[in-house]
């Protein structure tokens, strides 16, 4: 297993831009192919936005910690927060809408994570949520 690269974000949507830049900077060190970079950025945006939006009491400051590392042909990303228990794997993915009129706007983040990560694991321990995503590289 290679070196773990880590980043700490505040629970603020404005922090997402910093996270994206950080992932771009890992492309060289982790030798990420473009499709892997896309998948990592997409899944981390979806997961972190969910956490920032739903995990915490309003007007409280929290950290969201992210680690990324590579082991052979797999890239791993781990997201840790101390918010309320939330297992994204327990969320139902929305059914595909039959037409535009009946289509719901939202809830697609989980669908995207299932399609762009090769594996997703969730663990609750010691008051923290720990989400681990794997990607082919």
């Amino acid at each position: 297993m290679g070196e773990v690269h880590s980043l700490k974000l505040r629970n603020d949507r404005a922090e997402l831009a910093r996270m994206m830049t950080w992932i771009e900077q890992l492309v060289g060190p982790l030798k990420l192919p473009p499709q892997t970079t896309y998948a990592v950025q997409l899944c981390l945006e979806e997961a972190v936005v969910n956490i920032i939006s739903y995990a915490f009491e309003p007007d409280t400051e929290h950290d969201v910690k992210i680690g990324i590392w590579r082991d052979g042909r797999t890239v791993f990303a781990e997201i840790i927060d101390d918010g309320r228990p939330f297992d994204p794997l327990s969320q139902e993915t929305p059914r595909r809408a039959a037409d535009l009129k009946s289509a719901h706007v939202g809830g697609l983040g989980i669908t995207l994570m299932h399609n762009f990560a090769t594996n997703i694991g969730y663990r609750r321990s010691g008051g923290t949520n720990r989400l681990t995503l794997s990607f082919a590289a």
Partner: protein
């Protein structure tokens, strides 16, 4: 992220998006995009220069398409590339609005 507007005819417009349609990018263009969708009956959204699309950007597109359709208009996507097209496919957006890879066909669809 930026948004360019190319008028085609009265009430018909091509919107050229350029950049990353993520949380940060959608925040930049959302207001202008929804104002355009709310005031045109034909909208082509050119995605050729959109290098990244996340669920927040799909929200932008869906809300725009709904606004145009509600008034009996036509909203189409043009030239999504690579992983952006995969995002549209796996989220089912490809079933909800026409997607063209040819400018003339997109034009014909919104001017019909």
């Amino acid at each position: 992220m930026n948004l360019g507007v190319e008028p085609i005819a009265t009430g018909i417009v091509k919107v050229i998006l350029n950049g990353r349609l993520d949380i940060t990018g959608a925040g930049v263009i959302d207001l202008q995009f929804s104002a355009i969708a709310g005031s045109h009956r034909g909208v082509i959204v050119d995605l050729a220069s959109v290098s990244f699309l996340a669920s927040i950007g799909i929200r932008t597109l869906l809300l725009g398409a709904k606004a145009v359709q509600r008034r009996g208009g036509t909203f189409v996507l043009l030239n999504p590339v690579g992983e952006v097209e995969k995002v549209l496919e796996v989220t089912g957006v490809t079933d909800l609005m026409p997607i063209y890879h040819n400018s003339d066909e997109a034009l014909a669809a919104v001017t019909a």
